[in-house]
């Protein structure tokens, strides 16, 4: 029996062809990861800087194949359509690599000065980025899940990186427990989808689900559980409870990483689900996402109003931003053009959000080096002794609020366009909700601005802040992107246009 099975396996086996150019970014990141671990094991303490330098170089080198693949312009379909490198994947891979590089820039001094484990930190960071790269190419439920775990498990450890600090341990534990709970819910949903369609490939599932004869109750449960599972990852209300505590307790560079890269990866998964797996089941996912988006915006913004700690405020603001980004999904199922418009608006917003949120965290880190505090009051009079940081922070916060001529307004504009495009009542109502929330959000963003520009320095200490070059490089990069995109939005709208075609299947 066994011999027969083995013989059959041998007879039918054909060596799959592997397109090494297509998976070069992943290979480079994986190789860098291994190299960092080896170098860390065989060097002394005074050469720890090597690991951060290597991590940064590895991420930049991994960008080269992404660019060359983009110029090549051919959709590459690997492993029978389970792994696809198309423009959508390339735009997001670029985003993950660049935001990962900025997180490395932010981490360099923080990790070196805090007596943390450095080699392992960068190794885990790269592992998480590798998971995100895989996520953007995954077109199969199992690949999606493996990518999700690969990006989540290192992040659980990174959140608890400040060892012997109770708050950091709490951050890691809460994130871990909520994360595995979400994974369980997600797996349940995936198993239902697989059970009803008989395939793990996203396009096959989409094909099977477009048949109206499929059992509605099981499909409804499958879709709902899958969306809830990813809702945890993007911290949508009511699955957001881990986010503020985790963001506050985790080391600040890790918080920046979680709130930008990890959230983006969650959105990539949501986009894959909505646009590739069940695009024809709008009647099920639209009301659900409508409710999630509206609740996320309101709860995030209203609680952010009351925060006194800047990291917690940014955490709740990040929750609200996730609500803006989820809103177009709630009208995506009306027509092909509304699906395209909402996919484009979300990708563009993700690109802009990454720059402005990473920048805000970079400024918070730079200021905390002097004030040793995360309270909003500690920003008092920042303009009088660190005008550059104060201007940069103002740029990032007003961009988050969506004020022209900064990048945030263009992202918001895209979302409004996507919401009103189908001309349905639910779309108009959600657009009004986004508008109302933008006004609420302006209050707490502007409050930080007022503290920085108008109030006195709390302890009268006006010695200038010495910002390490890596952090200032990160701030300059993010600020430049935020301003340039605000003035010339074509920079990202082209990327968004390219990413609207989700190549699926073989």
């Amino acid at each position: 029996m066994l011999a027969a099975l083995l013989a059959q396996a041998q007879a039918e086996f054909q060596r799959p062809s592997i397109d090494f150019h297509a998976i070069a970014p992943e290979l480079i990141v994986a190789g860098t990861m291994c190299l960092i671990l080896l170098i860390d094991a065989f060097t002394d303490d005074d050469q720890r800087w090597l690991s951060s330098a290597l991590a940064g170089v590895g991420l930049l080198v991994a960008l080269i194949p992404v660019v060359s693949l983009a110029y090549d312009g051919v959709d590459r379909i690997l492993f029978d359509g389970r792994y696809v490198v198309d423009d959508f994947a390339l735009v997001l891979k670029g985003l993950f690599l660049v935001s990962g590089y900025i997180v490395v820039l932010l981490s360099t001094n923080y990790m070196a000065e805090g007596d943390y484990w450095e080699g392992e930190y960068y190794q885990l960071l790269l592992a998480s980025i590798l998971g995100m790269l895989v996520m953007s190419s995954a077109r199969d439920l199992i690949t999606v899940f493996v990518a999700l775990e690969l990006l989540s498990i290192p992040a659980y450890m990174l959140a608890a990186w400040r060892k012997r600090d109770a708050r950091s341990e709490e951050a890691g534990l809460k994130y871990y427990l909520m994360g595995v709970f979400a994974s369980a819910v997600l797996l349940y949903g995936m198993s239902l989808l697989y059970g009803v369609t008989g395939s793990t490939m996203l396009d096959q599932i989409g094909l099977a689900l477009s048949d109206p004869e499929t059992s509605v109750p099981i499909v409804a449960m499958g879709i709902t559980f899958v969306l809830i599972g990813f809702g945890f990852k993007v911290s949508a209300v009511p699955f957001h409870t881990w986010a503020p505590d985790t963001y506050e307790g985790a080391p600040t560079p890790v918080t920046a990483f979680l709130s930008v890269a990890s959230k983006t990866a969650g959105f990539v998964a949501l986009l894959l689900m909505v646009f590739a797996t069940f695009p024809d089941r709008g009647e099920i996912y639209e009301p659900l996402l409508w409710g999630l988006a509206a609740a996320t915006m309101f709860v995030g913004n209203l609680i952010a109003l009351r925060q006194t700690n800047i990291v917690r405020m940014l955490a709740y603001s990040g929750i609200a931003q996730a609500g803006y980004m989820m809103a177009p999904l709630a009208v995506a199922g009306n027509s092909a053009s509304s699906a395209e418009q909402s996919l484009r608006s979300i990708v563009v917003y993700l690109l802009i959000y990454a720059a402005m949120n990473l920048g805000a965290f970079a400024v918070v880190m730079a200021v905390a080096r002097k004030t040793r505090s995360g309270e909003i009051d500690s920003f008092g009079g920042l303009f009088s002794y660190a005008p550059g940081l104060a201007v940069a922070m103002t740029v990032f916060l007003f961009s988050l609020a969506g004020i022209p001529p900064l990048a945030g307004w263009f992202g918001k504009l895209g979302i409004f366009q996507a919401l009103v495009e189908p001309g349905t009542t639910s779309g108009y109502v959600l657009a009004v909700v986004v508008g109302v929330n933008s006004v609420i959000a302006l209050y707490y963003y502007a409050r930080v601005g007022r503290v920085m520009w108008m109030e006195e320095v709390p302890d009268g200490d006006t010695t200038p802040i010495r910002v390490p070059w890596s952090v200032s490089a990160a701030i300059v990069l993010c600020a430049a992107f935020t301003i340039v995109v605000g003035i010339a939005p074509a920079v990202v709208s082209d990327l968004g246009d390219a990413a609207t075609v989700l190549a699926i299947g073989s």
Partner: protein
């Protein structure tokens, strides 16, 4: 909204199942507790000390070493089935894979996963801690019966 009816039904079912289980076990289960029943189980031997205890982290590292080899074998078995078809490409691929997996083994050994014995600190903490001052580290003796001024001067 009737497309969400199955979810609601599922929710009701889950709550009902959990609730009924708790209530039924409260009502039906006999509660005859003795000291022996409530003490932690230690293979039949009377427990000598508190059961919850912190294990040395080396135990977990040994478990990790097991996982390293486990993963290696899981991938080696299917590879060995198609070894001939893969040819030199397969040999090269599995060598790279083995190197990547064994690297974590090297890392574990390098970090003392197999060093049993007295715990050594791998990385020293900061040499000077701000909490260490002359008042906190030097034990003053012979101050009994002397004036408050002398005591302050000593501190």
């Amino acid at each position: 909204m009737d497309q969400y009816l199955p979810i609601l039904l599922m929710l009701v079912l889950a709550v009902a199942f959990a609730g009924i289980s708790i209530v039924v076990s409260r009502v039906l289960a006999p509660r005859l507790s003795t000291v022996a029943k409530e003490s932690p189980y230690e293979c039949g031997i009377t427990d000598a000390k508190e059961a919850p205890e912190r294990f040395p982290v080396t135990f977990f590292l040994v478990a990790m070493i097991f996982i390293v080899f486990d993963i290696e074998v899981i991938f080696l078995v299917p590879w060995s089935l198609v070894l001939e078809e893969l040819g030199p490409f397969g040999i090269g691929a599995i060598l790279i894979f083995a190197a990547a997996v064994f690297e974590s083994f090297v890392y574990l050994i390098g970090n003392g996963a197999l060093d049993w014995g007295p715990v050594k600190r791998v990385r020293p903490g900061p040499v000077v801690s701000p909490s260490r001052t002359a008042a906190s580290t030097v034990r003053r003796v012979g101050l009994e019966g002397r004036g408050a001024a002398a005591r302050e001067e000593a501190a």
